[in-house]
Amino acid sequence: MDLSAINPVLLVASLMVAATPLLLAAIGELVVERSGVLNLGVEGMMITGAIAGFAISVETGSPYVGILAAAIAGAGLSFLFAFLTQFALANQVASGLALTLFGLGLSALMGQGYVGIRPPEMARLDIPVLSDLPVIGPILFSHDPVLYLGLALTAGVWGFLKFTRGGLILRAVGENHDAAHALGYSVIRVRVLAILFGGACAGVGGAYISLIRVPQWTEGMTAGIGWIALALVVFASWKPWRALLGAYLFGGINVLQLNLQAAGVAIPVEYLAMSPYLITILVLVIMSADKSGAPASLGRSFHASQ
């Protein structure tokens, strides 16, 4: 066992990378849940985004086009969910599961020709002086642009929910859809938009895994990150900054266990590999005492009768 091989600066930098897909998916789902919708299809949208982003990047040679394609793919898949739950009034739990099962199959199908390929690389931020600073440079100023996009989205969603009228309406719809309808707001429109945003975020989160974090394509490569993102929203009490904190916490645990695996700790690999899931359960248990942040209409179907 050689723990000295673990470099703390690189650890923090890679923690941020590991946290980004989680953060993107969780921020998207947070907005969806704040509008009163529970979309359990995050895993399916992420994996679809992962392959769509990967394939388009390989075909076009541009990782940026790939990221955009991933957002579109995630949003496209989430539109199916929006249709089922908002127009066909299907059960949200069942529809979300359907989305995940469908997305896993679809991504495997789409990804057949892309196994074992290396995607084009995304340039890292390289600011003279700043990026070369010791410790701070690698941690803060030399990441890929999507990582910063994740941080910007967190701030943006926070500001949107707290300060804008759109955010107020979104929260109102999630709190009490009957009242929002009575005041003349279109519950369905707000929710469909939120679902599409959540899908796009999940798609980008998935593409981040296949294009930057790993980077290659393997079937089922999201390995439950979409589900952890759902847990993260609960952990965050539906608050954006706490989602960031949670994502870094989980990213940290994951990076740490990978480093411990590499360092050859006496704990069997399998037990290290299951640690993120066990910790997720632990966190859910601790957080489940406080449900005060949960939107009151979460998971309930809305149909304007009379």
């Binding site: 929260r171 109102a172 009490n176 009242a179 929002a180 009575a182 005041l183 009379q306």
Partner: protein, 505 residues
């Protein structure tokens, strides 16, 4: 000089199986308080929803200050100067007062300015309110203020109020009426929806009366007797409940210093409640909605359990028992919410008969359900209580409110309860069904059952209760004999003021 603000001509709206509004016409003048009077289900709500742009009429026209008026959505109606205070469903519990107000406005100012405006308007109209408070923590009366202020900030030309006093104590009603009169003097027209005749006689300049969706008459309330208006509203003479006088029997149900937290985060905590109900007695419990009625019913039905000795029936402690253990002892209940609480909407009447009848009617054996016996029980309820339905296989949600309520009450009454607790037994029920439900309760009391009727309809309680108490913020007032109570005394009890008097029951 007054001018016509809104003119309604031949407005018609049909829903599957029911014509909600059938060619309704009337005018609202500027600066008048116009009453829209009618029973539950007469079509009042549909009519105002059309004015507010929530529902589109099938035919007919509206004219606003001489121009055609057909708001496609509430936003358009608000832009024209229509504002509405809803009876239910328009506040957001988890948001604060200012945010709630902002949601009802077209172009709200920045939050800080809005908070200042709320403070000034609320003081101006005598409706004190803190813009930073979370709405879920407010009392029913305060919640209504939020809605009213939301409307006032938009400087409305027409203010629609849907049953505003159903959530207020008599004293709060007085404050509201002062506010409305002030608005009227400033030239705002008010469309006031109610089925309370005395209120309309004090407040309104004109009244339009709806029955079964039709305009059946217009009158000047101050020149019309309540009786005349009631006859227009109901259409025929009502059967008033009769009761045989009974001596108070032995004490049956005793509540001893019951305190209990609510299961609902925005619910009311019950505080130190004590009372006794005797055999053959009906105890009426009044109070403004949201002062602990649901919680009290849950505590009595066994949905919420408490310390063993806080509730006793015939001296047996039952506080710790669940609903079925209490049913075995003869304590039955009928909650307020018919669909989803008292009955399962998508299940058949037979299945709903099993819901509370399984134990006392011996409908199960070793856990296996005897569906034939259950069906027979459902048929017995339908027959005895004149429930209008194709048969016991009909889903509960397919029944009208009155018929389902008859079924729910009948289901409990037919099980020969020793103690029966009902919450809002005639809420949203047509007059004929309400009368038969009240008669059933009186008849049950005559057989020696102890009955607790929780209701927000004071007239109902005065009609059937022997004793009266009121809930206020989870506390119970002193219990007084119902006979001879004045409206002022009742108001004080509902407002929680009578505790200090120390008057003995």
């Amino acid at each position: 000089m007054t001018a016509t603000l809104l003119s309604i001509r031949g407005l018609t709206k049909a829903y599957p199986g029911v014509v909600a509004n059938d060619s309704v016409s009337f005018d609202i003048q500027q600066g008048e308080v116009h009453a829209l009077l009618g029973e539950n289900g007469a079509g009042k709500s549909t009519l105002v929803k059309m004015i507010y742009g929530l529902v589109k009429p099938d035919s007919g026209t509206m004219t606003w200050r001489g121009a055609e008026f057909a708001p496609p959505e509430p936003r358009a109606a608000r832009a024209s100067g229509v504002a509405m205070v809803f009876q239910h469903f328009s506040l957001f519990d988890a948001l604060n007062v200012a945010e709630n107000v902002a949601l009802g406005m077209e172009n709200p100012p920045p939050m800080r300015d809005l908070a200042a405006q709320i403070r000034s308007v609320s003081e101006n109209y005598g409706l004190p309110l803190d813009p930073d408070r979370i709405v879920g923590d407010l009392s029913a009366g305060e919640r209504q203020r939020v809605e009213i202020i939301r409307c006032l900030l938009q400087d409305p030309k027409l203010l629609i109020m849907d049953e505003p006093t159903s959530v207020l104590t008599p004293q709060e009603v007085e404050i509201l009426f002062r506010t409305l009169n002030k608005l009227k003097s400033e030239g705002t027209a008010i469309l006031y929806i109610s089925h309370k005749l005395e209120e309309i006689r004090t407040l309104c300049d004109h009244a339009t009366i709806l029955r079964l969706g039709k305009n059946v008459g217009t009158c000047i309330p101050s020149e019309t007797t309540a009786r005349e208006m009631a006859e227009l509203m109901v259409g025929d003479t009502l059967h008033t409940p009769t009761r045989t006088a009974t001596e108070d029997g032995a004490p049956v149900l005793r509540i001893n210093d019951l305190s209990l937290s609510s299961a609902n985060p925005f619910g009311t905590r019950l505080k130190n409640i004590s009372f006794t109900v005797h055999a053959g007695e009906i105890l009426g419990i009044g109070g403004v909605a949201g002062n602990g009625q649901d919680e009290l019913l849950a505590a009595l039905s066994g949905e919420a359990t408490s310390d063993t000795n806080t509730i006793t029936v015939n001296d047996a402690p039952v506080g710790h028992l669940g609903p079925n253990e209490r049913r075995a002892l003869g304590i039955l209940a009928a909650p307020e919410e018919r669909l989803g609480h008292a009955a399962a909407p998508d299940m058949s009447l037979t299945e709903n008969a099993l819901l509370t009848g399984a134990l006392r009617q011996k409908l199960t054996k070793n856990g296996f359900v005897n569906w034939n016996a259950t069906r027979a029980f459902a048929e017995r309820i339908i027959k005895a209580f004149d429930v209008r339905t194709p048969g016991p296989d009909t889903a509960a949600r397919a029944l009208s409110g009155g018929n389902l309520q008859k079924f729910v009450i009948g289901r409990e009454v037919l099980q020969n309860p020793k103690v029966l607790v009902v919450n809002q037994p005639t809420w949203g029920v047509d007059a004929a069904a309400a009368a038969s439900i009240r008669q059933a309760l009186l008849d049950l009391a005559a057989t020696g059952a102890a009955i607790v009727v929780i209701s927000q309809d004071l007239d109902e309680l005065m009609e059937i209760a022997d004793h009266f108490g009121a809930l206020n913020e989870g506390r119970m007032s002193e219990i007084h004999p119902a006979l001879g109570l004045t409206i002022d005394e009742i108001g004080l009890m509902m407002g929680g003021a009578d505790e200090t008097e120390g008057a003995a029951a």
